[in-house]
């Protein structure tokens, strides 16, 4: 019965008719995929498949189980010449993470774009998806190379620490290796079968491969995240560091899921920004208007992905930070209010750069469409809001000051800038910036449409009302609870502020989707954007890359003088939190190296398209 009706159901879901064969292929691939995911989850959750004691017997870790973490001395650290081991590992790890984030993110949105291509029947999407994949292929092998280098340098420079980590994680590291093999296999098949599996049923096999690739890739990310979160907030071990739980207890620490979410979303934003730069570069060096138009469209799409993934990122960050506070208030304050607090000024500059570039790009992009003229008047208000909010955001709060500086300032807070320095003001600023960016985005989406639905008047009025009330609400919540009630209400109201912003975003998307039904579309002239506007596509990945390095420095530094927080002390010469200037220089070394690698990747990608003319012709 179901078998007969299945094609209709699936066709309905897909939005257009499918043949019986297509449905069968699709359901087979879906089933295979589910089976594979189930297998992976069993591998990852050994306490479901096997009890942890069995696991210990199998892995031979039984004898190691009740061993405390070793106390490290000078002999447990090595150094290559006079190069600081920490600096060395820092740069290698950062490069590995940049590349890994990129290669994990690209297939995520490539599969989505491929799906859009299938769904709309527009071949341009399929070509673009393939071109994005091409860029990430070279990056993949570089990721593996840096991953290997990182592993070797960790074992070489921090042998005892790594031995302890191996004791704790045991066979899980081999699961990681296994997943890596799977990732490579699926990735190559996915990329090289692109044209072999392009149409009809075969396309669904290809799409399923894409989903599988992302399943494996995301699992890889989560497995590796467990190492980082174990070091920050160990679980599955006792006070001395002796293993007490199964691998699942060790992995499922309090910070694991927050970090999984944060990195997953951030990777997409980062990957989008990098391919955006690729498109921007190809666009500027295009020889024909057709090429320019193609890459303009590609750059726009990549930027769209980056910004879309970026908007929820502050909320994922908020969740991570809240869990850090819940795990250890001390750790939270070390990050936000202690010596690392200065760094959030740099973070504000970077996020401000990202938001301003994204908006600048959208505003410039409005030149592509005649219909945008209607909205040009609003842009200056958005620009002013963004800049004022940005300035409030970078106003520092508690400063670590010398006695003389405190005397000059008349207190540790500036007399009239002080109120802008505290969290409520920053919450207002961040939410207004996000609302402003979403407005730019919404205006851009409306630029090429003439809305025809009969209730357009009401729809527009409702949208305007939502914006105005949301902005008023964000300011009211911040000012009233932030300055006139107690701390608990101050913190509580920030959740309502965030939800206000989310309501704007969600209702904006919903109302627009409904209003665009049957809308007349005005022509968009791709390529008609000033070259200055295109430079926003280069600002974005640079700010993202540097920001990622910066946040990595904070995430790692909150452990202070511990390798594994509360369990294994860092007794190396580098057991201090480096100053922000030194960290900034390290980030710059990593970012510029990454930039050069990316240029190499782009060059290799374009090399494939270059054909030498036959000398006899």
């Amino acid at each position: 019965m179901l078998h007969n009706r299945l094609p209709q159901i699936v066709s309905k879901m897909a939005g257009y008719p499918l043949s019986n064969n297509q449905v069968v292929t699709l359901s087979q691939t879906v089933l295979t995929l589910l089976a594979l995911l189930l297998m992976m989850s069993l591998v990852l959750t050994p306490d479901i498949a096997w009890s942890s004691s069995d696991m210990a017997n199998i892995t031979g870790t039984a004898t190691l189980e009740h061993q405390a973490a070793p106390v490290l001395g000078a002999k447990d650290y090595r150094q290559i010449g006079s190069i600081s081991s920490r600096s060395f590992v820092w740069v290698i790890a950062q490069l590995h993470l940049f590349l890994a984030a990129f290669v994990l993110a690209v297939p995520l949105f490539v599969t989505v774009i491929e799906w859009i291509g299938v769904n709309t029947g527009d071949q341009r999407y399929d070509d673009m998806a393939h071109e994005f994949m091409k860029v990430s292929m070279t990056a993949y092998s570089l990721t593996a190379l840096f991953g290997g280098t990182l592993a070797f340098s960790l074992f070489l420079l921090y042998p005892t620490f790594m031995a302890y980590m191996m004791t704790v994680f045991g066979n899980q590291v081999l699961v990681y290796a296994l997943l890596f093999f799977m990732e490579s296999g699926v990735l190559y098949v996915y990329y090289y079968s692109w044209y072999a599996l392009r149409y009809g049923n075969k396309k669904y096999v290809h799409l399923s491969l894409g989903v599988l690739l992302n399943g494996v890739g995301t699992t890889l990310l989560f497995v590796a995240n467990a190492w980082a979160t174990f070091m920050m907030a160990p679980s599955g071990v006792d006070d001395t560091g002796a293993v007490t739980g199964g691998i699942w207890d060790i992995m499922r620490g309090p910070l694991w899921n927050p970090l999984n979410l944060h990195r997953f979303v951030a990777n997409i934003a980062f990957g989008g920004a990098v391919v955006g730069a690729y498109a921007g570069y190809k666009m500027l060096s295009a020889q024909t208007m057709a090429q320019r138009a193609h890459y303009d469209w590609m750059g726009y799409t990549a930027n769209f992905i980056a910004v879309l993934a970026f908007l929820p990122l502050p909320f994922a960050g908020y969740y991570l930070m809240a869990e850090i506070y819940a795990y250890s208030q001390q750790m939270g304050i070390t990050a936000m209010g202690g010596i690392l607090a200065w760094l959030f000024i740099v973070q504000a500059v970077l996020i401000g750069t990202i938001l301003l570039s994204a908006n600048y790009y959208l505003w410039n992009g409005m030149a592509r469409c005649e219909g945008a003229k209607r909205y040009m008047g609003l842009i200056k208000y958005i620009a002013v809001t963004l800049i004022v909010s940005f300035l409030i955001w970078v106003t520092p709060h508690t400063l670590i000051l010398s006695a003389k500086e405190i005397a000059t300032l008349g207190g540790s807070h500036h007399p009239w800038l002080g109120p802008f320095g505290i969290m409520p003001a920053k919450n207002i600023a961040v939410n207004l910036m996000l609302i402003g960016t979403f407005l730019s985005f919404q205006l851009y989406r409306r630029a090429d449409k003439v809305i025809t639905v009969p209730w357009a008047g009401f729809g527009n009025a409702l949208m305007v009302a939502i914006y105005l009330v949301a902005i008023a609400n964000v300011i009211f919540l911040g000012v009233y609870y932030g300055y006139f009630t107690n701390t608990v209400y101050k913190v509580g109201s920030s959740v309502a502020q965030v939800v206000s912003t989310l309501i704007v975003i969600v209702s904006g998307v919903v109302i627009d989707t409904m209003m665009f039904k049957g809308a007349k579309t005005l022509p968009v002239k791709w390529g008609h954007i000033s070259n200055r506007g295109v430079y926003a596509l280069f600002a974005l990945p640079i700010a993202f890359t540097w920001l990622m390095a910066l946040m990595g420095y904070v995430r790692s530094s909150v452990r202070t003088h511990w390798h594994v927080y509360t369990i294994m002390k860092d007794n190396s010469v580098d057991n201090f939190i480096p100053s922000i200037g030194h960290a900034g220089n390290m980030m710059t070394i990593a970012t510029i190296s990454f930039l050069l690698l990316v240029l190499f990747i782009f060059w290799v990608a374009s090399l494939g398209d270059t054909k030498q003319a036959h000398p006899n012709k």
Binding site: L462, A465, A470, V499, I503
Partner: protein, 41 residues
């Protein structure tokens, strides 16, 4: 007339949504508010 009705209705809806959301978000965190938005503790 219809225009005025549209705008009035829109603002009434928006106000209601955000007012209720504020109350909901705060009480979810066990921070109840009075009808005039002052803390009810």
């Amino acid at each position: 007339m219809k225009v005025i009705k549209n705008w009035l209705l829109s603002f009434v809806i928006a106000f209601a949504v955000f007012y209720l959301m504020d109350h909901a978000m705060m009480s979810m965190q066990s921070l109840p508010l009075n009808a005039d938005m002052t803390p009810a503790q």
